[in-house]
Symmetry: C2
Subunit: 343 residues, 2 copies
């Protein structure tokens, strides 16, 4: 019997298609389509002049900006989706709302080495990337035109990545709250009003008790396949301790989180033949009007990272209805990933 | 300057990326990947024994069910996402909601000829398909376990279609209201409460006045590219006269609607090199508890068909945030489609 499962936070129903279920190993990705060999990678060390000037870098003090010697760089996107200069000029046009596409669009070059998959970076390097995300969010938050910062990664061409292989993340500051994040905030608030508890905290407790969908439980972090997954091998990484805002992540635990990220990405790479994937950081939006409030431990949101390997085709059905069909049970996905020896 | 546009019904913001905008003809689809030639198409006339027994058919009275002579057949899906037999048994599991995957999943074989694209059917045949949708919805509505009927089409492999080319639609009856439809209902209701008018009716009036995004305006129907399109060449077909429920579509105007559908699909086929596409019918859910209410002209929803050609890659950004990036302005998409001579 197929199952219908409801995401407890945003209320989306998902069909877990057990009848036409696939065994997890039936979904192992075909080898990635090869790109034409790049002559010169613009993101590698020594090619700093191929990119716009850096906004941020991890580099020894004696080195000069936009020259070799760095460990990580952030540059403005060459093809920005939103523009940094100008005013929002929010306006109506009859029924419609419109504003100028003001925002920031930055690219985090995650390493000076020509490495494609973040899974292949050292934990220490991933920790530096996390620190970079935090420092960029703090900086972008100062711009009062912005309401949210999206941190995400498109790994591989068919996941929306560009033609350069070099591993990178993207940071987009937006003048509006993204719909999906808003839905989670509303859902978490509603639960909090009823229970005076964070729904994500309760979810983590239930997952830890059952263990059915837990992939990793290391130090302060947990990696799970969500109960109402939209996609096979969808993974969420959450801090076990309540924390609404990723920016508040203590520097002492960043290496722990980096370890969990590396393990999850390595399990996907090894178990599923290096599939293309996306990840997105979901954190609380800026709440300047209530300074300090969102840092409160009582606040009802709980930051997390969502990772989606791209193994299935998405039909119009999903887009047209918001109704997803997951052809592998979350429990099977979790078991499969748990058993991949990523080391 | 890129633009941020808000869908007036569900409140989703979309980035219209004018800076990296593509000219419409840069998105013309590559030739469709060829399937291995089918030895025997199970959906062609004469092969009725290759399918499960028909649920519905348009056939002369003197012919026998499941034999040749039909013009259109509906069969149960061979790989149903939901099962017709059983009870919902809605239950909790800690935080989570779960119910049995009860529902109906039917396939409409749209013609007895081996034709792949609905664009190539005659208007009269498309009108019969519309009548079939209506009759199947009316029949499925009698089953009190169901709340909604989804009618949709996945044309082409990468749009989620199967390995058989023969043109068909799918009908899925679900025991829950799909998220996206619910959002539209809530948005339309909110507008109605403020204005005592249907938001779709106001939107149609504004589109007809500006003409910027109108593709076709024939008799009682309009085809537009929506103001806050998620995808290039996204098309909505709406009845110009207020009508919440597709089932109430007068038999006298079905041929008109068929004409509009054929013209839109033909424009996509001819202008964009036969791209894969999806379409979804959005209509009011069953409202048995308020019999007659949803048929009232005052009711705030407005049925429509959404058509999405699949020309761009969707990145995790979109899934993770609900924030879409449309690389062609809706006005350019509309102009391009308006100018394609589909005849």
């Amino acid at each position: 019997m197929p199952e219908l499962r409801k995401d407890p936070i945003i209320g989306r129903w998902v069909i877990v298609a057990t009848e036409r279920a696939k065994k997890p190993d039936q979904l192992i990705a075909p080898a990635q389509q090869e790109f034409p060999q790049e002559k010169v990678c613009p993101f590698c060390e020594g090619h700093e002049s191929s990119t716009p000037p850096e906004i941020y870098a991890v580099r020894p003090k004696h080195t000069t900006a936009n020259t070799a010697g760095w460990e990580l760089r952030v540059i403005p996107s060459l093809t920005p989706l939103l523009k940094i200069e100008g005013n929002l000029e929010r306006r109506g046009r009859g029924l419609y709302d419109i504003m100028n596409g003001i925002g920031a669009h930055e690219v985090v070059i995650e390493t000076n080495q020509h490495i494609a998959n973040m899974a292949d970076l050292k934990e220490e390097q991933i920790a530096k990337i996390l620190t970079c995300y935090i420092e960029r969010i703090i900086d972008l938050e100062k711009d009062h035109r912005f309401k949210y910062v999206l941190v995400f990664k498109n790994y591989g061409w068919s996941a929306g990545g560009g033609k350069v292989r070099h591993t990178r993340s993207q940071i987009i500051a937006t003048p509006v709250n993204p719909k999906r994040v808003k839905e989670e905030l509303v859902g978490a608030r509603r639960y909090y009003e009823n229970h005076e508890r964070c729904i994500y905290c309760d979810l983590i407790e239930q997952e830890l008790a059952s263990q059915d969908r837990v992939i990793l439980d290391i130090d302060g972090f947990i990696a799970i396949v969500p109960f109402a997954s939209r996609f096979p091998f969808e993974v969420w990484i959450l801090p076990k301790k309540h924390s609404p805002d990723f920016v508040a992540l203590d520097s002492g635990v960043r290496l722990e989180l980096a370890k969990v990220i590396k393990k999850v990405l390595s399990k996907l790479k090894k178990g599923l033949n290096d599939p293309v994937y996306n990840y997105v950081l979901h954190t609380a939006p800026f709440r300047r009007e209530k300074a300090g409030y969102w840092k409160s431990v009582d606040y009802d949101y709980h930051w997390h990272i969502e990772i989606i390997p791209r193994l299935t085709r998405v039909a119009g059905f999903e887009w047209g209805t918001g109704f997803y069909i997951c052809p592998v049970t979350p429990e099977d996905s979790a078991k499969f990933l748990r058993e991949v020896n990523e080391a």
